[in-house]
Chain length 202, copies 2
């Protein structure tokens, strides 16, 4: 049996925080791990801004509901699901992903989750585990599934390396140059072709 | 994050071999593990009958395409997928499940696979692993997912026991009597209620 493990943001949907910052016009939310490499610090900074702006989870979800998957993503997921099993592995939060997952027909996703207080404000977050994408691929391989992995960024390299087959998708020139042995695609049709080869080779 | 591991035959779709025997009128294919407890022997017996009847994989898939999921199964899967992650764990073969999975919107499934020869006849089968359902639940728990499991039969008891929460669904009176501590349901609405409790308790 063949499984495709796929990154979410940048591959199927836009970067959620950046899109959210754009839509709401809250400039401070454009800060990313490139500006603040300490992820816990960055998340607490974001949570404080949301509280200051009086934005509850339901307000945030409403904004995210107005976002769309990337053009062609829904059709790609439908075709991929007819060819093999698809599991999305993401570092985002299930509560943020939910409105976008709905638009994609609720494919299976493993990600992190938020802590929500009784007033519906985000009060914290919990990571499922460190390096969760790589560990998920290893766990799937351990039960004799053949795994292909694809994503766009540094946090996808671990799962791509441990998978039976891997590909970068819409990544940066720097990552492409640093990892010339990993195929790098920009179109969903190229991923579909890779899936078809993967199914015959493994 | 919460995952529901769900049996397929008897829970979401009819027993495929029995339904296939009924539709084609091939009485010999009604033989099950109750008549022949050696599974490999039973499968080879079935494969020989299919060859004798000149039934290729594509003919079998055509018959299965005419079958339907159980009434309410599609709506149940849609609702369940909006509440948590759903992975179907089945001892059937991916090639048989495919036409029924399509009708259910291609939820994620881990199952076994067939060997198909160059003339499109079934030439053998490969089990993903022994006791694959239980091992899949253990693997999902090992990456910090909370798992609920449900199924109808003896081969589901292992995964139900290792899951964080479990329930029998449309099982036999004998299994209910032998395992009085496991909740036993007959309606999808009861499974949905169990899922909602599971999400707040774990």
């Amino acid at each position: 049996m063949h499984v495709l493990c796929l990154d979410l943001e940048g591959v199927l949907v836009p970067e959620i925080w950046i899109e959210f910052a754009k839509v709401t016009g809250i400039e401070e939310l454009k800060r990313t791990t490139r500006d603040e490499p300490d992820y816990a610090k960055l998340m607490n900074y974001r949570i404080n801004i949301l509280k200051k702006e009086n934005l509850k989870l339901k307000d945030i979800q409403k904004v995210i509901s107005g976002m769309n998957p990337l053009p062609g993503a829904k059709e790609f997921i439908q075709e991929a699901k007819s060819l093999l099993q698809v599991i999305i592995l993401s570092d985002t939060f299930t509560e943020f992903a939910h409105p976008l997952m709905e638009q994609l027909g609720f494919p299976t996703i493993f990600c992190n989750s938020l802590k929500i207080d009784s007033d519906n404000f985000i009060s914290g977050f919990s990571l499922r585990q460190e390096d969760g994408k790589t560990k998920a691929v290893k766990a799937l391989k351990s039960i004799n599934l053949k795994v292909m992995a694809s994503g766009d960024s540094y946090n996808d390299l671990g799962m791509i390396k441990v998978a039976d087959s891997g590909a970068l998708f819409r990544t940066t020139d720097k990552i492409k140059a640093d990892f010339p042995d990993i195929p790098a695609y920009t179109e969903y049709s190229q991923l579909i072709e890779h899936i078809k080869r993967f199914k015959t080779e493994f």
